[in-house]
């Protein structure tokens, strides 16, 4: 069973390598040729040293003289072979590295392109952390065996040449070699197999340690205010201790195998000395041969381990590759239609019996309403009633399970790619800013003059603080807008929507972090815009500005109509909207 699993992994690993070779055939060829040069020259350098011993050193010692020419020839041979070997090493490292980096880059692009293409529904089912690691760690793991691969191919060649050479020198010595090197290679495979799972566990635990630290420091204020420092430290010490144990386990394996792998070739050399001396007695070998083979054993000891490195990376590579493929093969897309939205002015919006579920129970049940062009519709409802989901449907971030959303009478699913993005704008509850300039965040690549950007900022009541920034429109706002306050970020997000002069504007509680006075000014500014507006709100002032209210409770439309009418007709609505006043009145009575 285990054997099956292993050979299965090896087969898969080979397939992945095949993909790599097909993707970068030229770099691969260059790396393998360099590696071959390195291999040949490694074996060659031992041969040269043997020859030099036999033909230069020994005669000189025996005869008591030598010539400059002979010495020069020997030196040139030694340095020349080494120069070629160095060239081989350089080429191998460079080309193998470039191949690996290119593959990583190609697949990072492919994976993120897929993220951009796949529908949001797909995103909802995949945790953020997982997607980030698919694009980073998994791509890296998938191509990890690429770097040592050319060296390993070189080593195979090296062993072949060495085997022939030793056989040609002496059969008895060759037997020693055939005992020692397969043992080194085999032991190394065992080593890497033993090491891989523990190393992977240590890696996982490093991620766990980081996760606990991240969460704990993010929640530092809660930890402090509830005085939970000691228990947090205990929690952290738990994972840190596990990581320590895993690292020690890694150390125990490495600590055992490294010295053994080091000792084996040394014992081989000693055996060569003994066996070789015996063979010399019968005249089958010369002293030069003895030095040659002993030196060759010394040189081969290290490179042979490259075979183990590649094999060690294979299981990790297979797992990484499977995850990457999972993303690349993910079915599901948001198909676009052909219809263009040509009309100008405010849009006509109709929502017909829309139903929606993330997983399991429906979040929205048969929601229906119509927004006439230029009207403002307020969507009101208690915390968690499905309002945000509804806004996502309006701008087609997700499609309903059943029912339709019609924009100017056109089913939004029939609209061409990019058609809705050009005509509608949504400002979500959670503001997202890019690590870019203020201008970049407002335009998002839309080609508009700075005057328009300023105009949008003015409407969003953001011109004041933006002009106070050192770099004005060119100020970078930092990762996720870290340098700005919540209210400032919301106003930038609003400007981003307004600069497009959308025909349909959807605001999902988009001014919750803005002071009431500022909000009032923003809403007043919106009155003049040529847009149909759908606004999710709690504040009564906002609601009263709307022409009509859609009141949602538990995912159903529980009331619809002008504010005053709903106040009379819907008890839930009345309770929600007038909560503060009632509270006040009751206090007064009490």
């Amino acid at each position: 069973m285990r054997e099956n699993v292993t050979s299965d992994i090896l087969r898969k690993g080979l397939r992945i390598l095949g993909v790599a070779v097909r993707a970068e055939p030229r770099l691969f060829t260059a790396a393998v040729i360099s590696s071959g040069l390195y291999a040949a020259m490694t074996v060659g350098s031992a041969w040269v040293l043997g020859r030099v011993t036999q033909d230069v050193v020994l005669p000189a010692f025996r005869d008591g003289h030598t010539t400059a020419g002979v010495l020069a020839l020997g030196s040139v041979a030694i340095v020349g072979v080494a120069a070629l070997k160095a060239l081989g090493i350089a080429g191998r490292r460079l080309y193998a590295g470039m191949m690996q980096y290119n593959l990583q880059a190609t697949y990072r692009r492919a994976v993120t392109r897929q993220y951009l293409r796949l529908p949001l529904a797909w995103h909802h089912h995949h945790p953020t952390g997982q997607l980030l690691s698919n694009a980073n760690a998994d791509v890296e793991a998938a191509w990890a065996p690429i770097a040592p691969l050319p060296m390993a191919t070189g080593v195979v060649l090296m062993l072949l040449i060495a085997a022939i050479e030793i056989l040609a020198t002496d059969v008895m010595v060759a037997i020693v070699g055939f005992l020692v090197f397969p043992a080194v290679a085999g032991l190394n495979v065992v080593y890497q197999r033993r090491l891989a799972p523990i190393a992977a566990r240590a890696q996982q635990l490093r991620a766990d340690v980081s996760e606990v630290a991240h969460e704990s420091f993010d929640g530092a204020l809660v930890v402090k205010t509830l005085g939970r420092e000691a228990s947090e430290t205990e929690r952290f010490a738990g994972v840190a201790g596990e990581l320590r144990d895993a690292n020690v386990a890694v150390g125990r394996v490495r600590g055992l195998f490294d010295p053994v792998l080091e000792a084996l070739p040394n014992l081989g050399v000693l055996a060569v000395l003994l066996v070789g001396s015996i063979r010399m007695r019968s005249g089958a070998m010369s002293a030069g041969d003895l030095v040659h083979i002993a030196y060759l054993f010394t040189l081969l000891a290290f490179p042979i381990r490259a075979l183990g490195w590649v094999l060690a990376e294979v299981p990790r590579s297979v797992v990484g590759w499977d995850r990457v493929r999972g993303v690349l093969d993910a079915a599901g897309s948001l198909p676009y239609g052909e219809t263009t939205l040509d009309g100008g002015g405010a849009a006509h919006l109709e929502v017909r019996d829309v139903r929606f579920a993330y997983t399991g129970d429906d979040v929205l049940h048969d929601v229906a309403f119509t927004a006439e062009p230029g009207r403002t519709i307020a969507v009101v409802g208690p915390t968690g009633s499905g309002k945000s989901t509804l806004t996502n449907l309006l701008v087609r971030l997700v499609d309903p399970a059943s029912g339709d959303v019609l924009f100017d009478g056109v089913d939004v699913r029939d609209v061409e790619r990019g058609g809705l993005a050009r005509t509608t704008a949504v400002v979500p509850q959670q503001t997202y800013l890019f690590d870019d300039t203020v201008r970049g965040n407002v335009t998002l690549g839309l080609d508009v003059p700075d005057e328009d950007v300023w105009e949008a900022l003015r409407l969003a009541q953001a011109d004041g603080f933006v002009s106070a920034l050192d770099g004005g429109l060119s100020t970078r706002v930092g990762e996720r807008g870290a340098t700005l306050s919540g209210g400032q970020r919301q106003r930038l997000a609003l400007a981003r929507a307004l600069v497009r002069r959308p025909r349909l504007l959807v605001l999902d509680d988009a001014t919750s972090s803005v002071d009431p006075q500022v909000e009032a000014r923003i809403l007043n500014g919106l009155r003049d815009s040529e847009a149909t507006v759908v606004v999710v709100a709690y504040r009564k002032a906002t609601i009263e500005m709307a022409d009509e209210v859609v009141y949602i409770e538990h995912g159903r439309v529980a009331g619809q109509g002008p504010h005053e009418q709903l106040l009379d007709g819907s008890e839930g609505y009345r309770n929600l909207v007038t909560a503060y006043e009632r509270d006040e009145n009751e206090e007064a009575v009490a």
């Binding site: 050193v57 010692f61 010495l71 993120t112 993220y115 205010t225 150390g251 010295p259």
Partner: protein
């Protein structure tokens, strides 16, 4: 405020301080070093065996002396095995001590981060603090396991090889050193280039990760605004920049790494030429000359890994410096510890005595504020954004200490109260309800770990949240997601409130704790709180003035001063800041 230092103490000083702060590292060090000595002796066994075989085993006349060679090989073989065993023991000891030490260091630094004041914590980037207990320590660990080990083994190897060279022939030894010395010197430069190139690659990887995260975290905005192409381009650029930086670094590696091969070949050739001349003069035996050829190979691997090891060492020292930087930062809001006072249970009285506060390097935000809050009273704190009301709350809960003046709790200065007692008695609910990635029950239980599920349900019921709980698909087991993001902002606040309530404090401070909750729920909560905080002191900082109306007393903040105080009914009648605030609040309600 204490800033976390990552300054430029020298590498050696860092090492010394690090060793002093982590006694675990020193345990059994002499035994380990002894083993290391034995382990490196083995490195020169092969050259010695070659020399002995050639010089004494292969007699010029009468053929090889097999008996001698057999003895030599057996003795050397035994030495190789002893060496391997010593190396194994040394490795295991090294791993065990270094990892125990690092784990202890990690945990110590983690605790210390939590002990630092809120201001120190927020002055640092979150990621920066995290890396001090994760990657920085990992870097030291990696160095200890690879580079550190390599320095011991390879360094020993160089020393042993050199010693043997000198014994065999000092002129040849000098010659070999003369060839390698310039390379060792050049490696310093190589290392500097490489470390710069690696540094650049690391920076690019950060850029790339943040660009990639846009395609995931920013997916809704990208979709809604049709910014796919633009985002793909931005990601593409950062992916390519990273690849180019990697390739650049690799080019340097490819250039510098094989230089050792060349140097070793030059040394070998030099040994052959000079050794042959020496041999002709009768100053050197064949065996010694050949042994030199083997000894030269012992120089290659230490020098080949030298640049990498130096890099690792540099990173490790930098990492260690950053970790020590955390441990060296003294918490500026310090726990008086066991000497501190314990507060008896019961409603809390608060007194602000001429309290002023300025953020480090910033203007004064509170100016000599004095106030008395009677035990069991219900106080609302109102004012515009930036009027100092949140600062007031932070000083009250000792998240910060005043620049001047004193805060007294039941007549005792806040700074003299033991943290364990303080955090038990006084609990603040901040605006942003941070939740841990666990179930709902575990998050609420965070306020009182011993609480049972029944206690939690009871608490939620008392807060009037039983309906909400029932509406959740998995009830108390509902996972809240990272940072609680599976719940809405309003729901997170509900959980945070329940968490604080369950902790059962005597003084509850709410800092805009219900700002994202819908009005009906907020009003319901307010009423519930009124009931359940009877007998405790409660201070709410509020945007919505409905809170002020319900409070027994209102403190009105304006530009860092308390400008008015009294019950709502009285304040609303007199002209002043409160009347203005109330007017604009009322206008919002009813227009």
């Amino acid at each position: 405020m204490t800033a976390i230092d990552s300054g430029q103490t020298s590498g050696l000083a860092t090492l010394r301080r690090g060793l002093r702060l982590t006694p675990e590292f020193r345990r059994g060090i002499s035994g380990t070093l002894l083993l290391a000595l034995v382990a490196t002796v083995g490195r020169i066994v092969v050259p010695v065996a070659v020399q002995q075989t050639l010089d004494r085993g292969l007699r010029p006349h009468g053929g090889p002396d097999i008996g001698f060679i057999r003895t030599a090989v057996l003795v050397c073989g035994a030495a190789v095995i002893v060496t391997a065993v010593a190396a194994y023991r040394m490795n295991v000891r090294l791993y065990r001590t270094s990892e125990s030490g690092l784990a202890a260091l990690r945990v110590r630094a983690f605790r210390h981060v939590h002990d630092l004041s809120m201001l120190t914590q927020s002055a640092e980037r979150r990621g920066g603090l995290v890396s001090r207990v994760t990657t920085d320590v990992d870097q030291i660990s990696q160095f200890m396991q690879y580079g550190g080990l390599m320095i011991i083994v390879a360094g020993g190897q160089l020393v042993m090889a050199s010693a043997l060279m000198v014994i065999y022939s000092w002129p040849l030894a000098l010659l070999v050193w003369a060839v390698f010395a310039p390379l060792a010197f050049a490696l310093r430069f190589f290392q500097r280039w490489l470390s710069k190139a690696y540094g650049a690659a690391r920076e690019r990887v950060g850029d790339m990760l943040s660009a990639v995260s846009e395609s995931v975290v920013g997916a809704p905005v990208i979709r809604a605004y049709g910014a796919e192409e633009r985002t793909a381009r931005r990601i593409g650029e950062s992916v390519d920049a990273y690849r180019d930086a990697q390739t650049h670094a690799q080019r340097l590696v490819a250039l510098t790494y094989p230089s050792t091969e060349l140097a070793s070949a030059i040394a070998t050739a030099a040994v052959v030429v000079a050794g042959t001349e020496l041999g002709i003069g009768g100053h050197l035996t064949t065996g010694r000359l050949v042994a030199f050829l083997f000894l030269v190979t012992l120089f290659v691997s230490p020098l080949q890994v030298a640049t990498e090891v130096l890099n690792d060492a540099q990173n490790a020292i930098a990492g260690w410096r950053r970790v020590l930087g955390v441990l060296d930062a003294t918490p500026d809001v310090a726990d008086p510890g066991p000497e501190g006072l314990e507060l008896p249970r019961g409603a809390i009285e608060v007194r602000f005595d001429e309290v002023s506060f300025a953020y480090p390097g910033g203007p004064t935000v509170l100016h000599g504020v004095s106030a008395d809050i009677a035990p069991g009273s219900r106080v609302a704190v109102v004012g515009e954004t930036g009027s100092g009301k949140t600062t007031f709350a932070k000083l009250l809960t000792r998240l910060m200490d005043p620049s001047s003046g004193r805060v007294l709790i039941d007549g005792v200065p806040l700074t003299e109260i033991r943290f364990s007692s303080l955090r038990e008695r006084i609990v603040m609910v901040p605006q942003d309800g941070f939740l841990f990635d666990a179930g709902l029950a575990d998050n609420i239980r965070y306020g009182r770990p011993a609480a049972t599920d029944e206690d939690i349900v009871l608490a939620l019921t008392e807060l009037g949240l039983a309906d909400w709980l029932q509406g959740l698909p998995e009830g108390l087991r509902t996972p809240v997601g990272q940072r609680g993001e599976s719940l809405s902002a309003g729901e997170r606040q509900l959980v945070a409130l329940a968490r604080a309530y369950l902790a059962d404090p005597d003084l509850l401070v709410l800092d805009e704790a219900t700002s994202a909750v819908d009005p009906a729920t907020e009003v319901r909560l307010q009423r519930a709180l009124e009931g359940i905080t009877r007998g405790r002191t409660a201070i709410s900082i509020a945007h919505r003035l409905s809170t002020a109306e319900a409070a027994g007393e209102v403190l009105v903040f304006d530009h860092g001063r308390i400008v008015q105080r009294g019950p709502h009914a009285a304040l609303v009648e007199e002209p002043g800041r409160y009347a203005e605030l109330y007017a604009s609040w009322a206008a919002q309600l009813d227009r």
